[in-house]
C-alpha cells in the first residue's frame, strides 16, 4: 500500500507542475499586448509600464515562467490589479463559502441518489425504475443555471419561502451561535440561504451518482454470494445493504470523489445565479474587471484542489479494492 501511495504522490508532482505551466500561459493567450488589453485603450504609458513590471511581462518568457513557478512555490499568487491586495488573501476569503456550498450539494446529491439508485436496481424494469431513470436523464440534460432559475421562480418569486440570493452567516459559525444562544434563527437563516444553491448544484451529481449506483448494484445483485445469502435466509433488506450495496461501493466512491471535484467547477455558475460570495463568483467578477492575476490564481487553486481530490480518490479506491494496487 505504501509503495502505491508513494508512486501516486510522485506521479502527482509533474501534474502539479503541468497545471501551473498551463495557468501561466493563460496570460499569454490574451491577443496583442496583455497590459493594453487588461488596462484598456485609455491607459497611460506609465500605467502600462507599471503593469508590465508587476506582471513581469517585460522579461523573456522563460524568465517569466521560472519567476511564476518560484513565486508559486512560496504561496505567492500575485497582486490583484483591481483591488490591490494579494490574490491569495482573496482566495482564502472566498474559498470557505464555495467548500460549504459544495459539501452541502454533495450531501443532498447522496441523499437523493443512493436510495434512488438502489431502488431502481432492486426493482429493475418497474415503474419506479423508469421514473427514477427518467429523472436521472433529465438531471444530466438540465443546465445548472436553468435549474437555479426555476428554483428561484418557484421558491423565491412564487412561494416566497426561500431567499433567492446572498449568503447568511457561515454554517459552522451559525451552528456555534445557535449552540451558545439556544436560538435556532442563526442556523435556519444559514440553511435557508444555502438550500437553493446547494440543491441546484447537487442535482446533476445526484443524477450521475444514481445511474452509477443502479448499474453497480445490478452487477452485484447477479453475483453468487447474493444468491447464497438469500438461500441462507438472510432478510431482503440486509442482503441489499450489507451484501449488495457494500460491494457496489467501489465504483460509487470513485464517481462521488470525481463529482465533488466537478462541483467546484459547477459552483462558478451556481454562485453567479445566486450571488453566492464564493471563489466562482470571484472568478467571474475578476474576468469582467480584466483582473487577470485573480483569474489565474483562482483557476490554479480550483485545479489544484480538483487534482488533489482525484489523488485522494485513487488512494481510497486502492484501499477499498486492493487488487488495483497490483495494476
Amino acid at each position: 500500500m505504501a509503495t502505491f501511495i508513494i508512486k501516486r504522490l510522485l506521479q502527482f508532482i509533474p501534474v502539479l507542475i503541468g497545471i501551473s505551466i498551463l495557468v501561466f500561459f493563460l496570460l499569454h493567450l490574451i491577443p496583442g499586448d496583455p497590459a493594453m488589453t487588461l488596462l484598456g485603450q485609455d491607459a497611460t504609458k506609465e500605467d502600462l509600464e507599471h503593469l508590465r513590471e508587476v506582471l513581469g511581462l517585460n522579461q523573456p518568457i522563460y524568465v517569466q515562467l521560472l519567476l511564476f513557478l518560484k513565486k508559486l512555490f512560496h504561496g505567492d499568487l500575485g497582486i490583484s490589479i483591481f483591488q490591490d491586495v494579494p490574490v491569495i488573501s482573496l482566495i482564502i476569503k472566498h474559498l470557505p463559502a464555495t467548500i460549504e456550498l459544495a459539501l452541502l450539494a454533495m450531501i443532498i446529491a447522496l441523499i437523493i441518489s443512493i436510495p434512488l439508485g438502489i431502488v431502481s436496481a432492486v426493482k429493475q424494469f418497474s415503474w419506479l425504475d423508469y421514473v427514477s431513470m427518467f429523472f436521472a436523464q433529465l438531471g444530466v440534460s438540465m443546465p445548472v443555471f436553468w435549474m437555479g432559475l426555476l428554483l428561484i421562480i418557484g421558491f423565491s418569486v412564487n412561494l416566497n419561502i426561500l431567499p433567492s440570493f446572498g449568503r447568511g452567516e457561515p454554517l459552522f459559525q451559525s451552528i456555534g451561535h445557535t449552540l451558545q444562544t439556544g436560538n435556532l434563527f442563526y442556523v435556519v437563516d444559514s440553511l435557508q440561504h444555502l438550500l437553493l444553491p446547494a440543491f441546484t448544484l447537487g442535482v446533476m451529481s445526484a443524477a450521475l451518482i444514481t445511474r452509477m449506483v443502479r448499474s453497480a448494484m445490478l452487477e452485484v445483485l447477479k453475483e453468487d454470494y447474493i444468491r447464497t445469502a438469500e438461500a441462507k435466509g438472510v432478510k431482503g433488506l440486509m442482503v441489499i445493504i450489507k451484501h449488495g450495496f457494500r460491494n457496489a461501493l467501489i465504483p460509487v466512491v470513485t464517481i462521488v470523489g470525481l463529482q465533488f471535484g466537478n462541483l467546484l467547477g459547477g459552483a462558478i455558475v451556481t454562485e453567479t445565479v445566486f450571488a453566492w460570495p464564493g471563489i466562482g463568483r470571484l472568478v467571474i467578477t475578476a474576468i469582467s474587471q480584466r483582473d487577470f492575476p485573480v483569474v489565474q490564481g483562482c483557476v490554479l487553486m480550483i485545479a489544484l484542489i480538483f487534482a488533489l481530490i482525484n489523488l485522494i480518490v485513487d488512494i481510497l479506491y486502492a484501499i477499498i479494492n486492493p487488487k488495483i494496487q497490483r495494476v
Binding site: P14, V15, G18, I19, L22, V23, L26, L27, L29, I30, P31, Q137, L138, V140, S141, M142, P143, V144, F145, W146, L149, L150, I152, I153, V157, S164, G261, N262, L264, G265, G266, I268, V269, T272, V273, V283, I284, I287, S288, F292, V295, V299, I302, A303, F306, A307, N310
Partner: protein, 300 residues
C-alpha cells in the same frame, strides 16, 4: 469485350445491393433502441428548426419594438411572449438553435480531429511520444472542464470562434484516451501485421486499417459530446463569455431573462427548455448507440 461488360454490370449490381443492405441494416439498427428513436426524433426537430429557421420563425429575430417589451406568452400574436427589447422570444429560440448546433458540431469536430489524431499517434508509436501526449492529457484532465473553458475564453475574449476553440481544446482528451486504448488492442491484430508485411506505410496503416476500426466508440462519445458542448456554450453565454448580442443564443437570452425574473419569468423558462430538449435528445441518442454497439460487439 462482352465478358468485361458482364463483369462491370455484376460489380455495379453487387455495389447497389450492398448499399441497399447497408441502408436496410441502418434502419433495422436504429429501430432496435427506443433511446435512439426518441433521441433521434428530438435531434431531428432541432436540426429542422436550425435549417429552416427563417421559414419557421414568426418574426424578425433582431427587430426591436419597445412598445411590445416583456409581453407574456400568446399576447399580441407572440407565441412565447417577447424579451426586454420587444423581440419575439419564439423566433429568438428558433434562431438560437442555429448557434447552438453550429458551436456544438464545430467544437466537437475540432475536439475529435485533435483527439483522434493524437490518440492514433500515441497508441501506434508508443514510447516517449505516447508518454508526452498522455501526460498532457492528464494535465488537461486535472482541470474541471467548465473552469478550463471559462479561463480560456477569458483570455481569448468572448465570441463564437473563441468559444469553439476553447471547447475543442477542453474536450479533445476524451477522444485521445479512447482511440489510444483501441489502437493498443488493434495494432496487435493479424491483419495489421499482414499490412506491415506487404509493405504498407505507417500513414496507410493508421488511417486506413486502424482508424475505421476505432470509430464506433468515437461516434458514441461525439454524440454525447454534442450535448455537453451545447450546454457548455449556453453556460459560457449565460456568464457573458460566449455569444455576444445581437446574435441569438439560448444562454445569453436566459442571462438577460434573469434580470426580469419577477415580471417576465417566461424569459427564463423557454430558452432553458430548448437547451434541455436538445441535450436530452443527444444524450438519449448517444446512450442508445452505445447500448446497440455494445450488444453488437458482445454478439460478435
Amino acid at each position: 469485350m462482352e465478358l468485361s461488360k458482364q463483369v462491370q454490370i455484376e460489380k455495379k449490381t453487387a455495389k447497389q445491393s450492398k448499399r441497399g443492405f447497408q441502408v436496410k441494416e441502418f434502419f433495422y439498427f436504429i429501430t432496435q433502441s427506443k433511446s435512439v428513436l426518441i433521441g433521434g426524433a428530438f435531434v431531428l426537430i432541432v436540426v429542422i428548426c436550425a435549417l429552416f429557421a427563417p421559414l419557421i420563425a414568426t418574426h424578425d429575430p433582431y427587430q426591436m419594438n419597445m412598445a411590445d417589451r416583456l409581453l407574456k406568452p400568446m399576447e399580441k400574436g407572440h407565441l412565447l411572449g417577447t424579451d426586454q427589447y420587444g423581440r419575439d422570444l419564439f423566433t429568438r429560440i428558433i434562431f438560437g438553435a442555429r448557434v447552438s448546433l453550429e458551436v456544438g458540431i464545430v467544437s466537437v469536430g475540432l475536439a475529435m480531429v485533435i483527439g483522434v489524431t493524437l490518440g492514433l499517434i500515441s497508441g501506434y508509436y508508443g514510447g516517449w511520444l505516447d508518454t508526452i501526449i498522455m501526460r498532457f492529457v492528464d494535465i488537461v484532465l486535472s482541470f474541471p472542464v467548465l473552469l478550463l473553458a471559462i479561463a480560456l475564453v477569458a483570455a481569448l475574449g468572448p465570441g463564437i470562434e473563441n468559444v469553439i476553440l476553447a471547447l475543442g481544446f477542453v474536450y479533445w482528451t476524451n477522444y485521445a484516451r479512447i482511440v489510444r486504448a483501441n489502437v493498443l488492442a488493434i495494432k496487435e491484430e493479424e491483419y495489421i501485421q499482414a499490412a506491415k508485411t506487404i509493405g504498407s506505410n505507417d500513414f496507410r496503416i493508421i488511417f486506413f486499417n486502424i482508424l475505421p476500426n476505432c470509430l464506433a466508440p468515437v461516434v458514441v462519445v461525439a454524440t454525447l459530446g454534442l450535448g455537453v458542448a451545447i450546454v457548455s456554450e449556453a453556460t459560457l453565454s449565460f456568464l457573458g463569455l460566449g455569444i455576444q448580442p445581437p446574435q441569438s443564443s439560448w444562454g445569453w437570452t436566459l442571462a438577460f431573462g434573469m434580470k426580469f425574473i419577477r415580471e417576465a419569468p417566461h424569459l427564463s423558462i423557454y430558452p432553458g427548455l430548448a437547451i434541455m430538449f436538445t441535450v436530452l435528445g443527444f444524450n438519449l441518442l448517444g446512450d442508445g448507440i452505445r447500448d446497440l454497439t455494445d450488444s453488437k460487439l458482445k454478439r460478435n
